[in-house]
Amino acid sequence: MEDPLVIAGEQFGSRLILGTGGAPSLDELERALVASGTELTTVALRRVDPRAPGSLFDVLRRAGIRPLPNTAGCYTARDAVRTAQLGREALETDWVKLEVVADERTLLPDPVELLDAAEQLVEDGFVVLAYSNDDPILARRLEDLGVAAVMPLGAPIGSGMGIRNPYNLAIILESAGVPVVLDAGIGTASDAALAMELGCDAVLLATAVTRAREPVLMATAMRHAVEAGRLARRAGRIPRRLYAEASTSFEGMADLS
């Protein structure tokens, strides 16, 4: 595997983590997941609904995609820890996307509850991928607690506003000793490419694909965007300059006067 994403010692060929929320149908979701090339996908835990057609669990098994249970909808460390434990039971994995939000309107992470939950879960042996604000200090505190990845937001969940503070993200990336996954806010392919160009190790997105007019097409676009952004990062962009710099040499020009 060339240039794999490595989280907690596990390798992934794809640097796109796709969330499963918001898809119009399981069938459409399955096709989008496959088109995205993702190897890791977030899932929630909700009350069983015997009338619901099909099973997401079966979809993921069929597609061979590893599920990453989340704690979406939790407002307190207590609820997040219990939800993580339920996810571990249901999916037989120690991995969790830790999400503790402050209110419904912003869905922004609550830093106090987040740090409390992260500490408890790391202590309990979880591999914690922590959804975080784009705050370098919070990212550092999460890393100090032993999370496996920090996942700063680009913009609020589902907003599609892209990366609102690339400078904070740069500071997070500069000092992070664990993988940094840009999570939330991605609206379209260029946002995902930018995240990778800035140096993020991976991108996590859901709404941008599942609520696109054509989810399968957008999943394909995101796959290419993440790959292109990663390649561009590795290649090294040229410095920005105010004035032109000719790429064609003036030497040997014909004298046409």
């Binding site: 929320g21 899932v43 009350r47 099973s55 219990r82």
Partner: protein
């Protein structure tokens, strides 16, 4: 005895275990998690964990989420 399952009151035989309840819902155990009164019941103990009247049971499965 009366038990609340996912918010709905149900009448179950005394001594019904978590394993029996899950099976009665027609569910395969894989991909399912259970909490009783807010505490997680690990799968290997489903067969021993007898429910007690008045308990609140949550039976959860994998669902779409970001």
């Amino acid at each position: 005895m009366k038990i609340t399952v996912n918010g709905d009151e149900q009448v179950l035989d005394p001594g019904t275990t978590v394993a029996v309840l899950v099976a009665s819902l027609g569910l395969e155990p894989r991909g399912i998690a259970v909490a009783v009164d807010g505490e997680v019941v690990t799968r290997r103990t489903w067969g021993e964990r007898a429910l007690v009247a008045g308990e609140q049971v949550e039976v959860l499965q994998v669902a779409q989420g970001g």
